[in-house]
């Protein structure tokens, strides 16, 4: 049942190419929650964004009334705990722990190595590509033998938290393949992952959120050219690159 975003006082600060923003948009859509969306120019961040996320200064930021919630996986759990219909997390504590673990892995390992593939060239890129493969093998293994074995989605018959976190961002795999000229994924290497991803991307709510592939390709092309031209100078990644490479979650010890 749709809820009036203005009544709920929901505002989302995001960026159109940010998979972390897509996660929150998808969760809100799945919960039938309307919200006001504010597109941020990450090269020129608004005072509102800096006010509501002073520590990390990043998107997405969810405003619920006067309160701001940041970090996409924390936002998703907040949404799930506040609007409890159509649960995104399973009810069993052990399964919840596994979902949280794999969400952590996706941002800590998979997202980071994918970002390195995108940012680098030559030997460094080759190493990053094989790390992405190792990480996808682990996900494939979970689908083959883990708690999620035999399911359509990680959440069961319907999309859950882990589907959202892994799915929003996996489209970069095929984008990076074209832009960085590498082989990241095919259905022979990762059959269960590929069929899950195809199913996920065909869900109507997902289709409404993920940007068109040619738009993503054009955007990624531009950013990669910029990064490669800057790569000789050891500097911080540009603001636009963090959108893709996803330092939304940072890295833990």
């Amino acid at each position: 049942m749709a809820s009036d975003g203005l009544l709920n006082g929901l505002k989302l600060y995001g960026s159109w190419a940010s998979p972390y923003t897509h996660r929150v948009q998808l969760a809100l859509k799945l919960k039938g929650l309307e919200f006001e969306y504010i597109e941020e120019d990450l090269t020129n961040k608004s005072t509102s964004l800096l006010l509501h996320n002073p520590i990390y200064k990043k998107v997405p930021v969810l405003l619920h009334g006067d309160h701001s919630i940041v970090e996409s996986v924390i936002i998703l759990q907040y949404i799930d705990e506040t609007w409890t219909d159509n649960s995104l997390l399973p009810s069993d504590p052990y399964e919840r722990a596994l979902v949280r673990f794999w969400c952590y892995f996706i941002d800590d390992k998979l997202g980071t190595t994918l970002g390195t593939v995108f940012k680098s060239a030559g030997e460094e890129q080759k190493k990053a590509v094989s790390e992405v493969h190792e990480n996808l093998k682990l996900v494939e293994g979970e689908l083959q033998e883990g708690v999620f074995k035999g399911r359509r989605f990680f959440g069961g018959e319907k999309i859950g938290l882990l589907d959202i976190v892994l799915g929003c961002g996996s489209y970069w795999l095929s984008v990076f393949e074209k832009v960085a000229d590498v082989k990241l994924i095919d259905s022979e290497m990762f059959p269960l992952f590929c069929s899950w991803l195809k199913d996920f991307e065909e869900q109507p709510e997902v289709k409404e959120i993920i940007p068109a592939i040619d738009k993503l390709l054009e955007y990624a092309h531009g950013v990669r050219q910029l990064m490669l031209s800057l790569s000789s100078t050891a500097g911080d990644p540009t603001t636009t690159t963090t959108t893709i490479t996803g330092d939304d979650q940072g890295s833990k010890d």
Partner: protein, 222 residues
Amino acid sequence: MAREKGVVLLDFWVSPFGQRVRIALAEKGVDYEYKEQDLINKSEHLLKSNPVYKKIPVLLRDGKPISESLIIVQYIDEVWSNKAPLLPAEPLARANARFWADFIDKKVYECGTRLWKLVGEEQEAAKKEFIEIFKLLQGELGDRKFFGGETFGFLDLALVPFVAWFYAYETFAKFSMDEECPKIVAWAKRCMERESVSKTLSDPNKVYEFVLFLKKKFGVEY
């Protein structure tokens, strides 16, 4: 293969991440078997229980493993929900606790490590950063008894194990947490009044000796 029944914790004595789990189990009054791990020659049991990261702590319940300390603590909170709630009840307070615990995870240990691994200007920079991190945490604490308010909770236990490392950090990087962040030091004293904390945290002198051992191992001047 028969699964080992009951609760088992694979851990390393001085690990602040492992200590979070031990404090949570103590708060809940859960019986468990503690298994000290050799982190240089990792056991089959550890490698099988955490094949992705091969790290401690790992909690096993009836043979089923869970990794990552804050995820383990949330699991403990949800399973043994009848006693000593760790996360607050209200979604916004929960999001806030998770945010700050995640902040601690991203920042404290890594910056602390630089305090003893580096020297000269780099160490100075790490010291500035470390103090800034704790000033932010001090700001979040405000004038409250605990991060959880009146009661000790998730965020308190996420941070408190690092208090045992203050003496080592202060000694090697030459500063005083009492001078820089007095409210944090006062909060730490209140936490230590709880048996779950005082019986779990390492003796700061032992942590200092451990860091000295690491410095020698990594060839850092001492």
